[in-house]
Symmetry: C2
Subunit: 166 residues, 2 copies
DNA sequence: TTAAAAGTGTTATATCATAACAAAACTCTA
DNA sequence: TAGAGTTTTGTTATGATATAACACTTTTAA
């Protein structure tokens, strides 16, 4: 079982994360014969550069600033590609997109989402994964994917007085 | 641990479900000093009458047919009320709303969603609930709510040949 | 009975996402 | 390397989901 704060800006060098994620993405795409085109690559970088899940139109605005086409299909195509390639996750309860920290291995996207600062931690929890599969099977249900999003108050925000939270 | 198919039209009298749900809703609202007004009550009934999670605009159309105001705020206000009262759940991955089968007791909304027929089963799973709370606590995260949505193929659809699935 | 609170009506707009078809870029092989 | 086939991108339009803001009405409770 592993746990990591996906977008912690304090305790590590976020640039390193971005570089690693992009390098992993390159490798995976090559392995799978997929093309990580300019706009897809830049979209992935921008998602990683954001410290929080990024909305499609936020991403579109950033891409537009850099001279990419600014119509919605551009960004949704890039997002579809990245989602299918397993390079990002969609946080359903926020309609926003987040770099996947474990793109190189089979895993589940489980999230802890802070209501106050909107930071998100991705985690893996094999026991729960297995339990849910077993549970579904008892109903004859063939599980394909899971959306596990837990919201509440993160440790950092809990430590701050109410008034000054982000 | 309990399991029930929320909207099974074959194996039980759905009218009975609706009646029970409405009676429970009345009781809960009275207990909590909440007002189950005409539009809120009818919205809840319509959500229950649907055999699948119902979109906000689908609900709005049904309400409009019956002479209720047909502007979006009408339906979103009713939905907000019902969500806050714990009488319905929102299925985030579908942007749709579903009658809650356990409104009268504290519980979690865990869902099995069929990709083919779009029927949804709500279930309760205390062990996973506890495990997730414990997991969040190890991170200093104070859990407030959970979105647990599992998608795949339900037993009924698995039994049908590919071509004829709903 | 009347002031405050809660609920509803109404208009406008914000936000999220896709359809459809044309044009360009890439890739693969003869 | 020409060119057919495939993939990707550009472009316009529209569909789908959700909320802001303010006026008006109904209900509640002193």
């Amino acid at each position: 079982m592993s746990f990591k704060k996906t977008h912690d800006t304090n305790s590590h060098n976020h640039n390193h994360c971005i570089e690693t994620a992009l390098a992993t993405a390159e490798t995976l795409c090559v392995e799978q014969g997929q093309r990580l085109t300019k706009v897809r690559r830049r979209a992935l970088e921008l998602i990683w550069e954001s410290h929080r899940p990024l909305g499609a139109y936020q991403l579109l605005a950033k891409l537009a600033e850099e001279g990419f086409n600014s119509a919605p299909p551009t960004v949704y195509r890039a997002l579809d590609f990245l989602l299918n390639a397993g390079l990002i996750h969609k946080v359903e309860s926020m309609n926003a997109y987040l770099g996947c920290a474990h793109a190189d291995k089979v895993h589940q996207g489980y999230f802890l989402i802070c209501d106050d600062c909107h930071n998100v931690m991705e985690f893996d929890y094999q026991d729960i994964h297995s339990a849910l599969i077993a549970k579904a099977e008892t109903q004859g249900f063939e599980l394909r994917s899971k959306t596990i999003e837990l919201t509440g108050l993160c440790a950092d925000c809990k430590a701050l007085p109410e008034g000054v939270r982000p």
